[in-house]
Every structure is written in structure tokens, then in C-alpha cells.
């Protein structure tokens, strides 16, 4: 199969991932809807996944570690999403809101 | 070890039996440790040769940190003071509704004995802190007012001081060859000048707060005033001595070359403290506050004497430590009696008490005179030696320090006059003879030491010489 890194440097993937990651991060900071926040976090995770995959490919030589890691990240992301959505639903049931900026009763 | 364990056991016993057993019994029982001390001296065959003999030594925190107790002349005098005063302090308890007072005092006794006997840096620190705890609770539980505010200030203040000391100790510890806290090992550490200043400053801060030396005294007056009499006695009678003892035993030999750097500073501060305390004491209305500031004045002199690094100053200081313990405890005892029997300890509400109990008046007077350092009372020899040492160190400071004998007379006599003489506003209810006995013992000591101070000097002299040798050995300050 073709190796993409024959015509590409690894740094391109690093930059791409970082950009994606920071977009997600920006979203987390910028948005207030908890669901969108969760989605942005998923986006961040995906950026990481992409990076892992790229590294894994770049290492070559039967290194499956990166891809395995991506696999586990996906596993965890699924579990996290489930729990996160459960929490969201619970909060929504109690407050009818998913806007995180309204949840500030706990403070100093 | 015995005199640490014994009070501890007694303390636990007292805690569990509660107030079922009369305080007198506990007072008498705590005298036991005095005998234990004598026994210990016999048992370990300790000679008065100035060496700090080990009496107990087991590994504790690690191989380098031992549980080491030692005894020499200086330590002996200090534990004598402790074990002599604690029973008296217990006997001075007037009411029965202060349940945990006796266990705490006994616990304190154990800790104090530990402080004075600890031959291992960390142990010293631990006992130092342990001694703080009971007194903290005594003050917190039984203070007359503002208990929390006063005690927290006191506690944090002294705690910061001790932490500074801990930092210095750790520094020294890490510098020792085989990581040990043993006193001799710590002594043998060679520090360069700036190191020794930092290390010395750490020690000094801890002791300066505890003593207290002038700008670090602000915990003192309120704590003394608000604390129950027993607390004040413990604080001023014995705990102050911890600071002075530390100054002599730990700070001065360990400070290295920097002692020359600290010497003028401490002496200056101490002398300022002498006058400062005395001046404030002049107008005080509350007897305990008055004694607090007088104490500030007196211990300042002791600290100054120590820092002159002369044999006269140090021995005089040690003597005066013992003496001040006796005097100040006696004074607080008297205040306690006045307060319980006359109902107030404010000078403006007192007066004319002399006519009610001649014996009390006489004993009070002797204690006042002892504090004012009249010859043939115990205050005199120490003060003489201290003033001489300060005078020899620097004439001007000597003269200023000497003002204490005038100012002390001013406020002590004022205190006596306004409480005892004149036409009375207050009356003194019958004082039982039992209550006079501790006072009698103290007064006997006031006279006895006043006449034969050399007996005590002989006890401490070899140890002091050894300490001075240690100071001079590592630092070349003394010729």
C-alpha cells in the first residue's frame, strides 16, 4: 500500500491535529450548551485519534500501539458519551436547561 | 525517660478518672517525677562534669534519627524547675470545674521534660511542639475572654517560629555526614557564612517568639491575661524557659560564624524589650498584664546576657531563668489568690488587702522584692551577673539595661501598693493555709537562692563551660 509519508511530513499531521484539537477546545470555551460542549470534546478526542493514527503510520514497522490506543480512546469516548448524556438528561430533567453558565450555584 | 513517662501516665490516669480525685492528690503525685529525677541521676551515675550524658537512646524515625534523652547540669536545672513548678501549679488550681486542666498540665510536664532532655534535633522539635499543644488547650478551654482569637494568634505565632526552627534543623540534618539529627552530629556541621545566617535565623526566630524578644512579643500579653492562672504560670514559668534554653543550647552553638552577626541585633532588641516591657508595665491596671510585660522585660535581659557570650552572662542568665520561673509563678499564684479571694485582679478595684492576711502580704512582698531584684532575694544575683555582662559588652546598652532595676521597682512597688496597701476597696476572704504552702515553698526558694546562688552556679557551670567551648570551637568567636 501507499505510504502517505513519502510525500508528506509528519508535522503536517501534527499541525492538522493541533488545529482540530484547538477548534474543539475553542468550542468548549466558547459554547454554553452542554451538549455542544460534549461534542467539542469528542472533536478534540478525534483530533488526538488522528494524531495517533498518523504517528502509528509514521513509525511503521509493525507498530500497532498507536492504533490500539485509538481503539481504546474510542471505547472510552463511547462510555464517556453515554455517561455524559445521562448526566445531561438528569440535569435537564431537574432544571430544564442544558446551559452550563446557569449552573453556578456552587462557588466561593 | 522516667520523667517523661511518669507524667504521661499520670496524665492519662487523670484524664480517665476525671474530677473524682482531688487536685491535691495529683499535685502530690506529680512531685513523684521530682523524685524520679533524683533517682535517674543516681541510676545513671551522672556526674557533674559538663558532659551531656545519654540516658536513653533508641532509633526512632530512621537510623539517623534517634530517640535520645540526655541530662547534664543545664538540663538538670531546667527539669528541676519544671518538676518543681508543675506540682505547685497543679496545687494552685482553685476550682473543681476545670476537668481537663490536670491531665493537660501533666501532659505538659512530660513534654517539657522532653524538650529539656532531647538530644536529637527532631525530638527536640517534636517535644517543643508537644509542649505547645496542652498549653494551647488550657488557654482555649479556660480563657476568660476572646479565647479563640488570643490562642490562635499565640499558636500560629509560635508555630511559625517552630517551623522556622524545623527548617534550620532539617538543613543541618541534610548537611551531616550520615544524615543524623544527633546533637553532636549537628554541632559538627560546617556551614559557610551565609548558610549559617539562615540556619541561625531559623532557630532564632523560633526562640525569639517563644521567649519573647521585643518585636515578637505581641502574642504574649493577651495570652497571659486571658489564660487561666495555671496557663499563665506554665507559659511564663516554664515555657519561656524553653525559648531561652533553646537559645543557649541550640541556637548559640549551631549558629556557626553568624553568631557574631546576630549578637548585636539580639542584644539591641532584647535591651529595647527590657525598657519597652518595663515602660508598658508601669501603667497597667490588670495584674496579669502587668506581670506579662514585666516578664517581657526580664527575659529580655536574660536573652541579652546570653548573647554577650560571656561566662558571666550565660551563667547569670541560666540562674535567672530558674529564678524567673520561681518568681513569675509565685506572682501569678498570688494574682490567682487575689482574684479568687478578692474578686478582681484590677488594680483600680483592689487595695488595702494587707490588713486581711499578714502572712500573705509578707510573702507577696518578698516575691515582689525578688522580682525587683533586691539583694538577698533570688532576683539579685542573676540580674547582677546579666547586667554586668551586658555592661561589659557595651557600656551604653548596659546602662539602658540597667534602667530595668529602676523601672522594675517602679512597677512592682506600684503593683504591691495598689493591691495591698492603702485604704482597701476590696476585701480578702479567708485564705486557707493549704493554699499558702506552695507560696511558702516558693518564697523559701526566693530567699535561699538569693543568699546562696553559688549552689546553682556550681551545678550548671561545667555544662555552661562545655557549651561555651562548643560555641567557640566551631566558630572562633570567643577567644
Amino acid at each position: 500500500m501507499l505510504n502517505i509519508f513519502q510525500s508528506l511530513e509528519i508535522s503536517h499531521y501534527i499541525y492538522l491535529s493541533c488545529v482540530l484539537f484547538c477548534i474543539g477546545l475553542f468550542g468548549v470555551l466558547f459554547r454554553r450548551n452542554a451538549i455542544i460542549l460534549l461534542m467539542c470534546i469528542e472533536l478534540m478526542l478525534n483530533a488526538v485519534n488522528l494524531l495517533f493514527a498518523a504517528f502509528s503510520e509514521y513509525m511503521g514497522d509493525k507498530d500497532a500501539n498507536g492504533q490500539m490506543f485509538v481503539f481504546f480512546i474510542m471505547v472510552v469516548a463511547a462510555a464517556e458519551a453515554a455517561v455524559g448524556l445521562a448526566i445531561l438528561v438528569m440535569v435537564y430533567r431537574n432544571t430544564r436547561k442544558t446551559d452550563v453558565s446557569f449552573l453556578d450555584s456552587l462557588k466561593d | 525517660m522516667e520523667i517523661i513517662i511518669l507524667p504521661l501516665i499520670l496524665s492519662l490516669l487523670a484524664a480517665f478518672t476525671g474530677s473524682k480525685i482531688n487536685k491535691t492528690v495529683w499535685g502530690l503525685l506529680s512531685f513523684v517525677s521530682l523524685f524520679a529525677m533524683v533517682y535517674m541521676k543516681q541510676h545513671y551515675g551522672i556526674h557533674n562534669d559538663g558532659v551531656w550524658h545519654n540516658t536513653y537512646d533508641v532509633p526512632w524515625f530512621s537510623n539517623g534519627i534517634h530517640f535520645t534523652l540526655g541530662i547534664d547540669g543545664l538540663t538538670g536545672l531546667m527539669i528541676l524547675l519544671t518538676n518543681l513548678l508543675v506540682p505547685i501549679i497543679i496545687l494552685s488550681i482553685q476550682t473543681n470545674n476545670q476537668k481537663s486542666l490536670i491531665p493537660l498540665i501533666l501532659f505538659m510536664q512530660a513534654a517539657l521534660n522532653g524538650v529539656f532532655m532531647a538530644k536529637d534535633g527532631l525530638m527536640f522539635y517534636i517535644f517543643w511542639e508537644l509542649a505547645l499543644i496542652p498549653i494551647y488547650f488550657i488557654c482555649l478551654l479556660y480563657s476568660s475572654k476572646d479565647a479563640f482569637k488570643t490562642t490562635i494568634k499565640f499558636f500560629i505565632y509560635t508555630f511559625i517560629g517552630s517551623l522556622a526552627m524545623l527548617a534550620s534543623l532539617i538543613y543541618l540534618y541534610l548537611k551531616t555526614e550520615n544524615h543524623s539529627f544527633a546533637y553532636d552530629e549537628l554541632l559538627s556541621v560546617q556551614l559557610n557564612y551565609s548558610e549559617s545566617i539562615w540556619v541561625g535565623a531559623g532557630f532564632l526566630f523560633a526562640f525569639a517568639v517563644k521567649i519573647p524578644i521585643f518585636p515578637f512579643h505581641s502574642w504574649q500579653a493577651n495570652t497571659y491575661t486571658n489564660a487561666p492562672a495555671q496557663g499563665s504560670m506554665l507559659l511564663s514559668g516554664i515555657m519561656l524557659k524553653m525559648g531561652l534554653y533553646g537559645l543557649l543550647r541550640w541556637f548559640m552553638p549551631m549558629a556557626g560564624e553568624s553568631i557574631a552577626f546576630f549578637q548585636p541585633i539580639v542584644i539591641l532588641l532584647a535591651v529595647i524589650g527590657i525598657i519597652y516591657g518595663a515602660v508598658i508595665a508601669i501603667k497597667q491596671n490588670d495584674l496579669k498584664r502587668l506581670i506579662a510585660f514585666s516578664s517581657l522585660s526580664h527575659v529580655g535581659l536574660i536573652a541579652a546576657g546570653f548573647m554577650t557570650l560571656s561566662a558571666v552572662g550565660i551563667q547569670g542568665g541560666v540562674l535567672q531563668m530558674f529564678v524567673h520561673g520561681i518568681n513569675v509563678v509565685a506572682l501569678f499564684y498570688i494574682v490567682e489568690i487575689i482574684e479568687t479571694h478578692a474578686g478582681s485582679r484590677e488594680l483600680s478595684k483592689l487595695g488595702g488587702l494587707a490588713k486581711f492576711n499578714r502572712l500573705f502580704a509578707a510573702l507577696y512582698l518578698i516575691v515582689v522584692l525578688g522580682t525587683a531584684a533586691v539583694p538577698l532575694t533570688n532576683g539579685f544575683p542573676g540580674e547582677l551577673l546579666l547586667l554586668k555582662s551586658v555592661f561589659d559588652y557595651n557600656t551604653i546598652t548596659g546602662v539602658f539595661a540597667g534602667l530595668t532595676i529602676i523601672l522594675c521597682a517602679v512597677y512592682m512597688l506600684r503593683m504591691y501598693q495598689f493591691s495591698m496597701l492603702g485604704e482597701g476597696k476590696a476585701s480578702l476572704k479567708e485564705i486557707g493555709l493549704m493554699k499558702m504552702i506552695p507560696l511558702l515553698i516558693l518564697v523559701a526558694l526566693v530567699i535561699f537562692i538569693g543568699v546562696c546562688p553559688q549552689l546553682i552556679i556550681d551545678q550548671i557551670s561545667p555544662s555552661i563551660q562545655k557549651i561555651m567551648l562548643e560555641i567557640s570551637n566551631s566558630k572562633g568567636v570567643l577567644s
Partner: protein
């Protein structure tokens, strides 16, 4: 050896027995015990005196070491005593007059509830005073020095229920302490210079000229400050008149005959030192002179019988210091002795009067007492004559010797001294005449009740009167013949090696000067007699005194001045330091730290505002910060 122990020990024993058991003993035993212990000391001292007369080396005395008081490195002080010619003289005066006053007190204090306490204190005072004069080193001297101050405090405040008395006692003690500080500093200097405090070591070294002048001056000034305090010289004299608050025997013993002369003793003891410090000598001279004049002037307007005597004492002490300043040490000692006789006599006499008048001390309330109290009257007269220098009484000789010395030293000093002596006559006779002559003026206390005192009081009066008359024999001037004269000078000569070089002046000059003094004396007597007996004038009420007199009556406002300059500022300072510096500044700093911490702590509320967006942003920024730092470092 043991005689010193006994001399000291007997009064101490008396003190202890009376002090501890006195409350339960009958008054007679207490009183007689106190008296006999002192008397016994006197007798022993007499024996020692006799021994010393025949001693092989006249400057040597007996030594007695009890134990080591302190011994640290080279600082070595023994509890040791010495009894040489000087101290035996002092001892005799102290114990002699002391025993008389004890005897007197038995009757005088008979009614008092603190009878046993009084005797205990008196005995204790004798003990301390003896320690002062017998001590073999400066520290022992200091012991006694402070000890007598203490006893003085106790006895002035003897009637403790009176707050004013307590105040006076405190004042005395504190003023003494100021002097004591000077003395203590002197001690330190001495030790610093000579590495010892023993007379036997220090004094010869002082004399041998090896000490620098500055050091000698410093030491002697320090010691003189001590002497000022004890001997009530300017500026530390104000306590002595106030000290009259104590019972009269106390005034007689302590504040006239013995304790106040301790300063003179000190200077004489350190004769070598003072002799070699001319600056100090001058200071002593002028201080003494000023004190003498000032006290005499104040004495002119005092109406309290004891106050008059008190100022007279201050004045006489001033004269003694004049003598010391002139280098006439023997003259000072001579006057010390005669003064002890007649001043004790006068005080006891006044005590007798006061006793008769039931504690009335104002001379304006007296008058015409001579008929009711013949013995007191006669003895008082003798005392008055003695102090004012009636020819051939003791005061005449001793005072003349001082005046001669002054004349020899400096003519201005002489003139001023003579004025002082003359004023002495004025106020003494004023008091004497107002008290004993004229008419009885007291309306509260009937004249019939005035009575002569019991024999325990009269006997000491008579003995002292005899001594006042004969005291001059101690040191008759040389013009009266070599066999009888200058006994005291010879006696003290071995102790005072330096001052021997006293220039002899011609007898003619002496006679002339003596004549002048006698003339002045006669004038004074005539004037006062005219004013107070013939015209029967009574001193005015204080409020009515004219301006100059008012200044005198108010003692030059010195007390007020001191109050304003020292006491008030000190109290103000105390409050200021307590309220401002201690609570506000230092306490405030500490409180400030915790307030600051709390304030900083409160800032956390701004960040920890419960809003997750803020948290996340802060976290990201912090992360960026770390990464950024990583970039550059």
C-alpha cells in the same frame, strides 16, 4: 572573727525571731529583744574597737568570710566582711544610736498594732546598715546599700493604710534605686578595671596611680550618683522630706543618723578614688553646697516639725559633702558622728512632742510646751544648740572644721557654707521657739493632756543630749592642744592615706573664723527670739505667704518639676507605648497580616465564581502559559 558574725548576726536573729514569731509574743519581749540584740552588737563592737586601738598595723582590720556568693570565671565575690577603723566607727554609731532608738521605740510604738513588725524592720535595718559598713567588698556594700533602702521603704510605708505614706515610701525606694543604678554601674566599672570588688585589692590599686584619670572620674561619678541617692543630695533629695511619713524613731535612725550618711561613708571608704578625681570632687563640692543652701532655705518656711528637721538633715548632709569635696574626709566623718547624735536627739525630741500631742506635727498647733515637757524641752534645746553651733557643743566643732576646710579650699564656698550654717540657726530656732515657747495654740487637743514621755523615751533623749554636748571631744580642733585634739583624725589616718596632706592653717585665722561664726550665731538667736518669743509671731498659713516665701514653702516647686519632667512623661510614655506602639503598631502589623491574608483569600471569589467557562478558560490559559515558558526556558 566571730565578733563580726555576732555583730551582724544578733540584729538578724532579732529580725527573724520578731518577724516570724513576733505576732504571738508579748510586746514587752518583742521590744526588749529588739533592743538587746542591737545593744549586744554595740557592746561587742566596743570590744572590737578596743582591740583595734591596740592592733599592730593600724590600717588592718578584722576579716570574716562567710561563704562564696558568686564565683564565675574571674568574677568572684565572697560573702565577707571586714572591720577596720572606719567601719568600727560607723558600727558604733549605728548600734549605739540604734539601741537608743530601739529603746525609745518601745514606748513610742507601744500602742501600734504593728509593733512586732516595727521592731523586726528596725533590727533588719540595723543588720543591713551593718552589712553596708562591714562589707569587705563593694558588692557587700551594695547589699547593705539596697537593704537599707528596702528597710527605709518598709518603714516609711509602715502605716500602710495611708496611701500617701505608701507613695512616699515608693518615692524613697525608687529615688534610692536611681542612685543604686549609678552605684551598680560604678561597681561594674570597678570590676572591669580591677577584676575584683574587694576593698583590699581595689583600693590600693586605685591609690597607686595606675588608673587613667578618665576611668577614675567615671568610677567616682558613678559612685557619687549612688551617694546622691542615699544621702539625699540634689537632684535626688526630694524623697527624704517625704520619708518623714514613717514613725519618728525611723526618721531619727534612718533618715538622720545612719542610712543617709551611707553616701558619706562610701566616699570616705573610697577616699583614694575620690581624692584622685578632682572633677568629681568639684562636683561633689558644688552639689553638696547647693543642696545645703537649698534645703536650708526650704527649711525656713516649713511648718511641720519633722519636715524642718528633714530639710535640716539634707542641709547638714550637704555640708558633709562640701567637706568631702574639699578633701576634708575626717571633718565629714566628724560631722557625720556629731550630726548623728544631735539629729537623732532632735528627731526623738520631736517624736516626744508628737507623742505628747497625739500625732500633731504642725508647729503652729503647738507652743508653750516647755512647761509640760521639761525633759524634752531641755534635751531639744541642747540638740538645737548643738546643730546651730553653740560654742563648745559638738556641732560647733564639727561644723567649724568643715567651714575651715572650705575656707582653705575656696573662699566662695566658705561664704556660702557660712550662710547655710546661719540659715540653719534661723530655722532651728524658729521651730524651737514656736514649739516650746509662746502660747499653746491647739484647740482640738487640750493643753492639759500634754504630758512628758515615759522613761524609755526620756532616757535615750538624755543620753543623746549628753553625747551632743560631748561629741566634740572626738575631734577637738588642734588649737585646743595636741593631747586632746584630733583624736578622730588620728584614728582614721591609717584608713585615709591620701587625705593626710591637709594643710594646717594658722590658729589666728581659725580663731577669726570661729569668732565670725559665733557672732552670726548670736545674731540669729537674738533675731528669732525677738520674732517668735517676744513678738509671739506665728508662721503664716501657706496660702498667705508672700511670693518668695511661697516658693520656699513649696520647696522651690521641685516636686512639681519632677512630676512634670519625669513622672508625667513616663506615665504618658507608658500609655502611649501600650496603646499606640504595642496595640496599634506591632499588634496591628500582626493583625494586618491576617487581614491581608483574608483579603487575598477573598480574591479567590472572583475566580471561583461557579462558572465552568471561566474555569476552563483559566485552565487553558495556564496551560498555554506553561507551554509558553517551556518554549523560552
Amino acid at each position: 572573727m566571730n565578733s563580726i558574725g555576732l555583730i551582724l548576726g544578733l540584729p538578724l536573729a532579732g529580725f527573724l525571731i520578731n518577724g516570724i514569731f513576733g505576732k504571738n509574743l508579748p510586746k514587752s519581749i518583742v521590744g526588749w529583744l529588739g533592743t538587746f540584740t542591737v545593744l549586744a552588737s554595740f557592746v561587742i563592737a566596743l570590744g572590737v574597737f578596743n582591740d583595734l586601738r591596740h592592733a599592730a598595723i593600724p590600717s588592718e582590720g578584722l576579716h570574716f568570710k562567710l561563704f562564696t556568693f558568686l564565683n564565675i570565671e574571674n568574677f568572684n565575690v565572697d560573702f565577707s566582711f571586714t572591720l577596720d577603723r572606719l567601719s568600727v566607727m560607723m558600727t558604733l554609731i549605728i548600734t549605739g544610736i540604734g539601741s537608743l532608738i530601739h529603746l525609745y521605740s518601745i514606748a513610742y510604738m507601744h500602742e501600734d498594732e504593728g509593733f512586732y513588725k516595727f521592731f523586726a524592720y528596725l533590727n533588719f535595718f540595723i543588720f543591713n546598715m551593718l552589712m553596708l559598713v562591714l562589707g569587705a567588698n563593694f558588692l557587700m556594700l551594695f547589699f547593705g546599700w539596697e537593704g537599707v533602702g528596702l528597710c527605709s521603704y518598709l518603714l516609711i510605708g509602715f502605716w500602710y493604710k495611708n496611701a500617701e505614706y505608701g507613695k512616699a515610701a515608693r518615692k524613697a525606694f525608687i529615688m534610692n534605686r536611681i542612685g543604686d543604678l549609678g552605684l551598680l554601674m560604678g561597681l561594674f566599672l570597678i570590676f572591669h578595671q580591677y577584676q575584683s570588688l574587694d576593698y583590699s585589692i581595689v583600693l590600693p590599686k586605685m591609690a597607686d596611680g595606675s588608673t587613667s584619670q578618665a576611668m577614675l572620674t567615671a568610677i567616682s561619678m558613678c559612685l557619687f550618683v549612688g551617694a546622691m541617692g542615699k544621702s539625699a543630695q540634689i537632684p535626688l533629695y526630694t524623697w527624704l522630706p517625704d520619708a518623714m511619713a514613717g514613725p519618728t524613731p525611723v526618721s531619727a535612725l534612718i533618715h538622720a543618723a545612719t542610712m543617709v550618711t551611707a553616701g558619706v561613708y562610701l566616699v570616705v571608704r573610697c577616699e583614694a578614688l575620690f581624692y584622685l578625681s578632682p572633677i568629681t570632687n568639684n562636683v561633689i563640692l558644688w552639689v553638696g553646697l547647693a543642696t545645703s543652701l537649698m534645703a536650708a532655705l526650704i527649711g525656713l518656711k516649713q511648718n511641720d516639725i519633722k519636715k524642718v528637721l528633714a530639710y535640716s538633715t539634707v542641709s547638714q548632709l550637704g555640708l558633709m559633702f562640701v567637706a568631702l569635696g574639699c578633701g576634708a574626709y575626717t571633718a565629714a566623718m566628724f560631722h557625720l558622728a556629731t550630726h548623728a547624735f544631735f539629729k537623732a536627739l532632735l528627731f526623738l525630741g520631736s517624736g516626744s512632742v508628737i507623742h505628747a500631742m497625739h500625732h500633731e506635727q504642725d508647729i503652729r498647733q503647738m507652743g508653750g510646751l516647755k512647761s509640760k515637757m521639761p525633759i524634752t524641752y531641755i534635751t531639744f534645746l541642747i540638740g538645737t544648740l548643738a546643730i546651730t553651733g553653740f560654742p563648745f557643743l559638738s556641732g560647733f566643732f564639727s561644723k567649724d572644721e568643715i567651714l575651715l576646710a572650705a575656707f582653705d579650699h575656696n573662699k566662695i564656698v566658705y561664704v556660702l557654707s557660712v550662710i547655710s550654717a546661719t540659715i540653719t540657726g534661723l530655722y532651728m530656732f524658729r521651730m524651737f521657739f514656736v514649739t516650746f515657747h509662746g502660747t499653746y495654740r491647739n484647740h482640738h487637743h487640750s493643753f492639759d493632756k500634754v504630758h512628758e514621755s515615759p522613761w524609755q523615751m526620756s532616757l535615750p533623749l538624755m543620753i543623746l543630749a549628753v553625747l551632743s554636748v560631748l561629741g566634740g571631744l572626738l575631734n577637738l580642733p588642734s588649737y585646743l592642744g595636741h593631747n586632746v585634739s584630733m583624736k578622730l583624725s588620728h584614728w582614721l589616718a591609717p584608713i585615709l592615706p591620701m587625705a593626710e596632706s591637709h594643710a594646717e592653717m594658722s590658729h589666728n585665722t581659725e580663731f577669726m573664723l570661729v569668732g565670725l561664726v559665733v557672732l552670726l550665731f548670736v545674731l540669729v538667736v537674738l533675731y528669732t527670739r525677738n520674732k517668735y518669743v517676744s513678738k509671739n509671731a506665728v508662721p503664716e498659713e501657706d496660702a498667705l505667704t508672700p511670693s518668695t516665701g511661697k516658693v520656699l514653702a513649696n520647696k522651690f516647686y521641685v516636686d512639681e518639676l519632677y512630676d512634670m519632667v519625669f513622672v508625667k512623661p513616663l506615665e504618658l510614655l507608658s500609655s502611649l507605648v501600650d496603646n499606640m506602639i504595642d496595640s496599634k503598631l506591632i499588634g496591628g502589623l500582626i493583625a494586618g497580616v491576617s487581614t491581608l491574608l483574608l483579603a487575598i483569600s477573598g480574591l479567590n471569589k472572583k475566580i471561583q465564581n461557579g462558572n465552568i467557562e471561566y474555569y476552563l478558560t483559566f485552565m487553558v490559559l495556564a496551560l498555554a502559559l506553561f507551554l509558553g515558558f517551556n518554549l523560552f526556558f
